[in-house]
Amino acid sequence: MKDRGIRVIKEKCVGCGLCMKVCPFSAIVLENNLAVIDLSKCTLCGACKEACKFDAIEIFKPQVVDTTSIGEHKGVWVFVEEEDGKIAGVSFELLGKAKELAKDLDSEVVAVYLGYNLKEKYSQLFRKGADKVIFVDKPQLKVFISENYANIISSLIQKYKPEIFLAGATTKGRSLVSRIAVKIRTGLTADCTGLEIDKEKRLLIQTRPAFGGNIMAQIITPNHRPQMATVRHKVMKELEGTFSSVGEVIEENLDGEFIDRRVKFIDFIKEEGYKVNLADADVIVSGGRGLGAPDNFKLIRELAEVLGAAVGASRAAVDSGWIPYSHQVGQTGRTVSPKIYIACGISGQIQHLVGMQSSKIIVAINKDPEAPIFKVANYGIVGDLFKVVPLLTQRFKEIIKR
């Protein structure tokens, strides 16, 4: 095969080299003033095509597979996740987004809820945007096991044929939907920050960051249904409770075996000492190497306490043993996107930035005015954190009390 997926149109290429610069995989070189693509490195991501000012790069879309059954798929489904026995915030946010998508598709929002003793809880789902609730209520589903949940939801999807399926990009959500997507053979896009409908084609346009947020990609699932996506907590907005608290309810009593006996839940141990976890926090206060010693994390905890914030940390602080790994923000830790991220004594190496740069407002406190954290900060204070942080705690205490 001569042309595999991508080619440079020689007549149009002027050898400007822009495609070479944008290629995330260093797959393009210039030879005799023409762009040449190394197909062994190219992943057909399309960055070069997007960057080319002369339309000189062509990507061949694959043959359309049999799509005759796509039209049978209707409805926007949301996986309802529980946290501490309550419906997780991310599920309400997704219902809000689903309502918007369903409106564009002239379709309905369906909440899919698995667990035990759900009957008192599901009316909330209608208030937050669901038109219909499909639930499976069984004692074996009290504890979330991804295998069991994936077995059941896959069979529900095959029965009802939804067009779109959304879930939270949580530890549960990600482990679950990756299994479902493979089982039912459909596309899945992780960590979407934007979801919208191309009304003409009835396609879900999924926007997500890649390379630690340095580039954004728009992804579609053209030929398979449902179109599946995960979204992080706090990215979408919950609807204000303006909807009726009743709607259609379907209880599914599944026949057959959905429990995977190869996995057994033994116990859950909650982390003590921190009231807010990183994933759920509107505000995160993080400490880094600048704290100098483990005891100084109390400055961070005090400010966090006043703000109702979660406590984060840089890799340097975690590797020094000052705070457990579960608090690490960054490339080898967690990715967070709170409304406000306050970095104290964190220089802002790229490994840290990729884990927090999608936060709405970034505040940096550092004594070094050249620290890279100031480059991404909306607000910053150049100064001694041992003076600044306690003052900040005190000022916020005064304001919040009032």
């Binding site: 896009t189 630690g212 033994i266 703000l307 406000i340 900060a377 910053g380 100064g383 000022r395």
Partner: protein
């Protein structure tokens, strides 16, 4: 016991920068590394090998230069490496990638445990590990921070999984797949002897035909998802930086933040 580790070669993101003038990714001279989370997967396999005299494999799917990643894994102590490399795989999404890796694992055969990193630092999806498990119909534990015990006789493994607000203890019947987080161990550096051994070792290259896959099943044409557009996000507006008297700085900052906090 047979353990298979799946790894990915990724660009060393420390050097990924945006050119502020053209707003494009600067990737000249960027080195490739083993995905950081995969280093913990490799280390864990080597530790299990030392504890249970397991036989260990490392597999990667990637372009010819991904061989470097395999040799690095061998130098750390993995016994055998397999390189899945074929132009037909270009454009594979997570669905196809997990299928291809699953087929390769099946070809190795007779495995007890598959270990992957929690996610890759370039794509950040965390989908390939569970995807492989599903293709192979295996139980899984994601975000594992500790392997507490392996009962080789009864083929039962106990692990701790890191969740948002604590951790969970699970028991899995082997064969199973786990994905690991940084907390699980501290990777060692390769020894000189390991490096020499890794250099000499031959690494088979498997193509789609070796895995019994048709060309249209893999790569862009086999992938349910498609990237339609790629762009750089709008850069953050230049921040307001306060300097000088700490008290004044704090007052100015609090004024800016109060509407967002109250």
């Amino acid at each position: 016991m047979k353990i298979i580790v799946c790894i990915k070669q990724v660009p060393e993101t420390t050097e990924v920068k945006i050119n502020p003038e053209t707003n494009t990714l600067i990737r000249e001279g960027v080195a490739s590394i083993i995905n950081p989370f995969d280093m913990y997967a490799i280390e864990e396999a080597v530790r299990l090998k030392e504890r249970y005299s397991a036989h260990t494999f490392v597999i990667t799917m990637g372009p010819p230069q991904a061989e470097d990643a395999l040799r690095e894994a061998l130098s750390i102590g993995i016994d055998e490496a397999i390189h899945i490399s074929d132009k037909a795989f270009a454009g594979s999404d997570t669905w196809v990638t997990s299928l291809v890796l699953a087929k390769a694992i099946e070809r190795v055969g007779d495995y007890d445990l598959i270990i992957c990193g929690k996610q890759a630092s370039d794509g950040d999806t965390a989908q390939v590990g569970p995807g492989i498990a599903t293709h192979l119909n295996l139980p899984q534990a994601t975000y594992v921070r500790k392997i507490s015990s392996i009962d080789e006789k009864n083929k039962i493994m106990r692990v701790e999984r890191l969740l948002e607000d604590g951790y969970e203890i699970l028991e899995l019947f082997l064969p199973a797949l786990i994905t690991v987080v940084k907390e699980i161990n501290e990777p060692r550096l390769p020894s000189l002897r390991g490096k020499l051994r890794a250099k000499k070792q031959s690494i088979p290259i498997w193509m789609h035909t070796d895995l019994g896959l048709r060309e249209e099943e893999v790569g862009l044409s086999g992938s349910p998802t498609q990237v339609v557009r790629i762009f750089t996000p709008p850069s953050r507006p230049k921040g307001e930086i306060f300097e000088g008297d700490p008290e004044e700085c704090v007052n100015s900052l609090v004024e800016k933040l109060r509407i967002h906090i109250l």
